[in-house]
Each structure stands twice: as structure tokens, then as C-alpha cells.
């Protein structure tokens, strides 16, 4: 193997691939050849760097220069200036919002400074399709340790002691799950990985699969050893073709190299696994529905008990964890339970990956220690709200999480705190809303999703979400009454209490939390027939401000439905609200800002 003086890392994850990162790699290789640099500089296709907002991303090592939104045209420049001459191309490196200058190195970036990458440690660092790169970063060392030095019981104890909790939603202690499965009676047991990431906007599982697939292979093997399983399933949604492809490559490589299959590295332990592709129903992220789907049935949740640990896939004891949970395992084994338990809060240990989106500067994937406050996450790692707008709320936990208002921004993030605030950890979605968001509309928006994704099995979820949605429609259309808000609240509570699975039990969270923290906004909709954020179309009013009106008549001329009347030069113009279609043409046309929206 040749030694290189520089590595050019290009993100090859779904986001960046869709903005041509693969072509960028090709072009880099061509340019390097042109300059005779191909033996000195290596181009590496990696997984996701997290800051997807800035993609396609190219990082040049050893300097750690972070080039963002790289276009094909930029490649010759970077090659010539940076790779050939060693001159960092400052106008192409990432400039963080609120900073005057671009950072020279990834290590100086605010987005990464507060992060601690455990699950994502290899994402954006290694080429996920090359086993040796994974091995270079301690890959399979944890498996080696487990198989040579630890008993299954010791592995379970280590995971228990680490305090790791399920990263997929409920936050059930992972070690306990492992213990239950290991103690469950059965000649055949399975290990399964939930990679059916259904939350819109969440892509931490995909990132791990695309950026570091071997970590999953290794961790599932460790888990299988701990619980006494010899076969595993990874349930991935078919909408993740790159993830599926890379994971399959990893599985094949592991098999070829005796890291998977019969008698792993001569240890006597055997484990193999396969990928099962799901059709992308949100509810299949629910463990019992996922199991049904793996078995080839319609993915519908089942009543627990029996729990998968006792009766899972094909009624055999099954250990089911999600990708992010598994991605922590190797590190816990290698660095020890104490190291992991040293990170985070009393009840929530380690780090958590969040997918930050919405009204935020640094949209992307970040991994922070548990206990980091919402404030730090949003304003330091996330870079704050764009365009100088005011923060209004953050919704955590995916489409069935709750909205947390500004007064709770100082809350340290952990499982219990989020639940107490009427939200949840979920798989780690984090959507930021600013003053322009109407919270009633936000609640309705999330119900759009859960209504469609309800599996239809149990009454409260199937029928109830629909009715909540209709009530919200009514309110946002200005047809709501105060009783409707109460009705909405009671209905939401019943759905939460009486639904069969996590989907129904959490789907009302956006409604309940917005009523809890933003009741005044609901009341404005029903009492004053107005939307304070100016979002709800039906409640919008365009009004002429008489003091500002210069009686020019431009607005009347632009109005497509001729609902503005007045006499040019003589009379203040007036908008007929009954005829107005709320297109906003007058607002845009008025040269004197004499028309307001409200």
C-alpha cells in the first residue's frame, strides 16, 4: 500500500450523492492525474459528515479543510491551489453562520466542537466499502475481545452497566433487553436490527449504514454471542438503496474474511445475517409490526406481551435494537462500560444523534452527549435561527413528538426530561420553528403524516387521528369553536391512553403539546378568527393601513379579482375581505408598505 501525503474525503451519502458528489470524485481523480498527483493524493468516498445543509462536502486532510457546496467547477481550483500548492481555497471552505471568516479546519467549526461522535465516529472518516479502513479504526476489535476474553454473561453485564438505552424511541435499557433475550428459552434465537427509519427528516440510521456498515455487522455479532443467537436480520427500508448496497457489501466482506458465518475467526461461534427490505411503512418501525413484516405478513403491531425477547421472529426469542443503539456497542466493549456511563446524565447515558432541521442554520446530523441543553444544541451546534428570526419552539422525536417552547430551552436533553415536557426522544428528529410558524398548523402538519401512516388496526388511532386532523382543519379554517379545542384535547388524551402501539400512543403529542404551550394561538384561531403567525390561509387578512396609503391605486390595479376599491389620488383604498382570495399580490405591489398581513 502506498503512502499518500494527502487524503481528499468526499461524502458519498444519499444527500451528497444526489447533488453529484460521485461526479466530483471522478473529476478529482482526473484532475489529480492531470497534475501527476495521483500517487501522492488519495480520493476517498466516505459516509456522511453530518452537515448536509452544506453538501456536497469535501474535506482535505491532513489540514482538515472543509469545503462545502462544492460544485464540479470548484474541483480544478481545489486541486491546483490546495492539493498541488498547499493553499487552502478560503472562499470555498465553509463559513459558519454568524462568523466573519471561514474556518480553516473542521476542528475549529462550531458545528463539530460540541459534538461527541460515538455512534457516528466513522461516518465521514472511512470509506465504508473498504473493510481495512474499518479495521484501521478499531473495527472488529470489540468482537475479538468479546469472543476471546468475555463470556456472554459478561457482555450482557457490560451493556447493562453502560446504561445504554434504546435509541429508537422508548429508551428501554438495552442491557435488560439483552438479558431477557439471553435468558429466554429457545433452541433458536434471532438478533434483529431495526433500520426502518420512518421519521421524516431523520437519517441517523441511514448515515450509519451508508457511512459505517461494518459497525452494525460487528455489533450484531457481538449481540448474537451475548444472547445465544446464530442468525440475524436487518430490516431496512427499500427506499435506502445506498444503505442496502453498502450493508450488503459489508456483510459479504465480513463473510469472506471469516468475520461472519461458521466458526468466526476460529472461535467456534457462528453467526450469519441477512437483509430484509421493507416497503417503507412508518408503522414497521414498531417492533412487533417489524417482526410481522420480516415474517412476510402485513406489518401490523401486535399486543405485547409476549415481548419479542420471548416470542419474536417466527415465535423465537428475538433481540431487536435499532441501528444507532448497535452503533454504540463496539465502543462500549472496547472502552468499557464506565467510559460510556461517564457521558450523559444520571439516567440517560452516552450520546444521542439528532437530525436537526426546520428553521435552523446548520441543518444536518449531529451527535451530542446526553444532557446537552436544547439551547446549546440549537444555538451553538445548530448555529441558531436564520434571518434573525425569533425562536418559537422545537419539536423533538419525529412526527409524534411534542413542541417545546422557548421557556424550556435550558432543559438538558434526556429521555425523562423530554417526556416531562410532553415530547420524547424518539429516534432523534429535531425540528426548529420560528416566529413565522403557526403552532396549530404545525400540529396539523404532523397529523397529516401520522394519519396516513396509522396501520389501521386499532380504533383510536385509525379513527381518532382522522378526527383530530379534521378538528384542526376546522380550526385553521376559522370555523372552530372553543369547545373544539377542548374536544381535541380530550380526544387526544383518549388516543394516547387507548391505542395499541407506540404510533397511536404518541401521535397526539404534537396536538397536546401545542395546546399546552400555545393555547393562546388556538384561542386566537377560534375566538378572533385570526392566525397570529399569519400562516393559516383562510384566516389571513390583507388590510390597507390608511395612514400609509398614498392613494396611488397600484394595489387595485394588481388585484386579480378586483376586490380593492378607492379613488386614485383622493380616497384611501379598501380591500373587500369577502372577495379577497389572499393571494398577496397587493402586499407585494404596494411601494409604500401600506398593506399589512394579519
Amino acid at each position: 500500500m502506498e503512502l499518500y501525503r494527502s487524503h481528499v474525503l468526499v461524502c458519498g451519502s444519499t444527500g451528497c450523492v444526489s447533488s453529484d458528489s460521485l461526479k466530483i470524485i471522478d473529476l478529482f481523480n482526473k484532475e489529480l492525474e492531470k497534475h501527476g498527483l495521483e500517487k501522492e493524493i488519495k480520493v476517498v468516498q466516505t459516509g456522511c459528515f453530518g452537515l448536509c445543509e452544506a453538501g456536497p462536502i469535501v474535506i482535505v486532510y491532513p489540514e482538515g479543510s472543509f469545503y462545502s457546496q462544492v460544485k464540479l467547477d470548484d474541483v480544478p481550483r481545489i486541486t491546483e491551489e490546495h492539493l498541488l500548492k498547499g493553499l487552502i481555497v478560503h472562499d470555498l471552505t465553509y463559513k459558519e453562520p454568524g462568523k466573519k471568516e471561514a474556518s480553516d479546519s473542521i476542528d475549529d467549526m462550531g458545528f463539530y466542537k460540541k459534538q461527541q461522535r460515538v455512534a457516528l465516529r466513522n461516518c465521514g472518516v472511512i470509506d465504508p466499502e473498504i473493510l481495512k479502513e474499518y479495521i484501521a479504526y478499531d473495527g472488529y476489535a470489540a468482537l475479538a475481545k468479546v469472543l476471546t476474553k468475555m463470556s456472554p454473561e459478561e457482555v450482557v453485564e457490560t451493556i447493562k452497566a453502560s446504561g445504554l438505552r434504546g435509541r429508537g424511541g422508548g429508551g428501554f435499557p438495552t442491557g435488560l433487553k439483552w438479558e431477557f433475550t439471553s435468558k429466554a428459552e429457545g433452541d433458536v434465537k434471532y438478533v434483529a436490527c431495526n433500520a426502518d427509519e420512518g421519521d421524516p427528516g431523520a437519517f441517523m440510521d441511514r448515515s450509519v449504514l451508508e457511512g459505517d456498515p461494518h459497525t452494525l455487522v460487528e455489533s450484531m455479532t457481538i449481540a448474537a454471542y451475548a444472547v445465544g443467537a446464530n442468525y440475524g436480520f436487518v430490516y431496512v427500508r427499500a427506499e435506502y438503496p445506498i444503505a442496502v448496497k453498502r450493508l450488503q457489501i459489508a456483510i459479504d466482506q465480513a463473510r469472506e474474511n471469516d468475520l461472519l458465518g461458521e466458526d468466526i475467526l476460529g472461535s467456534g461461534f457462528s453467526f450469519d445475517m441477512e437483509i430484509r427490505e421493507g416497503a417503507g411503512a412508518f408503522v414497521c418501525g414498531e417492533e412487533t409490526a417489524l417482526i410481522q413484516s420480516i415474517e412476510g405478513r402485513r406489518g401490523m403491531p401486535k399486543v405485547r406481551p409476549p415481548f419479542p425477547a420471548n416470542k419474536g421472529i417466527f415465535d423465537k426469542p428475538t433481540l431487536l435494537n435499532n441501528v444507532e443503539t448497535f452503533a454504540n456497542i463496539n465502543q462500549i466493549i472496547l472502552k468499557g462500560a464506565d467510559w460510556f456511563a461517564g457521558i450523559g446524565t444520571e439516567k440517560s447515558k452516552g450520546t444521542k444523534v439528532f437530525a436537526l432541521g426546520g428553521k435552523i442554520n446548520n441543518t444536518g446530523l449531529l451527535e451530542i452527549p446526553m444532557g446537552t441543553t436544547l439551547q446549546e444544541t440549537i444555538f451553538e451546534v445548530g448555529g441558531g435561527i436564520p434571518n434573525g428570526k425569533a425562536f418559537k419552539a422545537v419539536q423533538t422525536g419525529g412526527p409524534s413528538g411534542g413542541c417545546i417552547p422557548a421557556e424550556h430551552l435550558d432543559t438538558p436533553i434526556d429521555y425523562e426530561n423530554l417526556i416531562a415536557l410532553g415530547s420524547m426522544m424518539g429516534s432523534g428528529g429535531m425540528i426548529v420553528m420560528d416566529e413565522d410558524n403557526c403552532m396549530v398548523d404545525v400540529a396539523r402538519f404532523f397529523l397529516d403524516f401520522t394519519e396516513e401512516e396509522s396501520c389501521g388496526k386499532c380504533t383510536p388511532c385509525r379513527e381518532g387521528i382522522k378526527r383530530m386532523h379534521e378538528l384542526l382543519d376546522k380550526i385553521t379554517e376559522g370555523k372552530g369553536k372553543l369547545q373544539d379545542v377542548d374536544k381535541l384535547e380530550t380526544l387526544a388524551k383518549t388516543i394516547k391512553k387507548a391505542s395499541l402501539c407506540g404510533l397511536g400512543q404518541t401521535a397526539p403529542n404534537p396536538v397536546l403539546s401545542t395546546i399546552r404551550y400555545f393555547r393562546y394561538e388556538y384561542e386566537a384561531h377560534v375566538n378572533e378568527k385570526m392566525c397570529p403567525a399569519g400562516v393559516c390561509q383562510a384566516l389571513l387578512q390583507f388590510l390597507v393601513i390608511p395612514e400609509k396609503c398614498k392613494k396611488c391605486g397600484i394595489c387595485a390595479a394588481k388585484c386579480p379579482v378586483n376586490c380593492i376599491s378607492g379613488v386614485k389620488g383622493k380616497e384611501v383604498y379598501l380591500i373587500d375581505q369577502a372577495k379577497c382570495i389572499k393571494c398577496g399580490a397587493c402586499l407585494e405591489a404596494c411601494p409604500f408598505d401600506a398593506i399589512k398581513k394579519g
Binding site: G36, E40, E63, V125, K132, I135, A141, D258, L265
Partner: protein, 121 residues
């Protein structure tokens, strides 16, 4: 792969290949590579350095370039950092570059004749 020992051996080797991504090592060779340097033959210097370093399998050495080091007349030149210690070699040829590798980096002996101090004197 058949054994855990084999796995460890592969890891040792692989770690060298990715060392760059954790930033520069303790020993850095920085070649002046602005237009002046390139004109003076800095590319050939870099190629020779890389080749020799590869031959000796010196994994802890990072080769980078930088802009004009400020003494164009002495190009091609390089700065060799070992922790805090810095040695500047000037007026290099590919052969000299190779000697710097074998003498300075392998044997730990400064190639006095080409250091900026001696040369300027």
C-alpha cells in the same frame, strides 16, 4: 482471515494508511509550493520526498505544502517540523531531498550543509 492475530496484523498495517485523517503527525515536512517554488522545482522535490519516505515506510511523517516561505531566492526549500523543533532546508535538489529523508528522518542527523543557517552563511 483465519485468526485474531491476523486481524490485529491487518489493523496495524491499515492504521498507517489512514493516519493522515487524524491531522498532521509530529513530524511534518512542509514544502514551499507557490509559483516561485514550483518554478524552482518544488514538485520534483515533493515527488522525491514521497518516494523516499515510502521506501523507508516512514509512517509518522506528513508531507504538506505551503505558500511561499518568503525567501524565493532559496527555493526550492522546505521546513521540517519535529514537535517544536524546526529545521529549514534550502536550495534543494531531488537527490538532496532523498538525503534529508535518509539522513535526517531515518538516522536523525541534520544535513547541515543545506540548512538555511549554514547555507546563508
Amino acid at each position: 482471515m483465519k485468526t485474531f492475530a491476523e486481524l490485529e496484523a491487518i489493523r496495524k498495517k491499515a492504521q498507517k494508511d489512514v493516519r493522515l485523517r487524524s491531522g498532521s503527525g509530529d513530524v511534518r515536512v512542509v514544502v514551499g509550493m507557490d509559483n516561485c517554488g514550483i518554478e524552482a522545482g518544488a514538485r520534483q522535490i515533493t515527488i522525491a520526498l514521497m518516494d523516499e519516505i515510502n521506501k523507508h515506510n516512514l509512517q509518522d511523517v506528513t508531507v504538506t505544502q505551503t505558500e511561499c516561505l518568503g525567501a524565493c531566492r532559496l527555493e526550492p526549500m522546505l521546513e521540517l517540523y519535529e514537535g517544536e523543533k524546526k529545521t529549514t532546508y534550502v536550495k534543494l535538489t531531488p537527490e538532496l531531498a532523498r538525503q534529508i529523508v535518509t539522513e535526517h528522518l531515518v538516522n536523525g542527523k541534520t544535513l547541515k550543509s543545506q540548512t538555511i543557517g549554514v547555507f546563508e552563511r
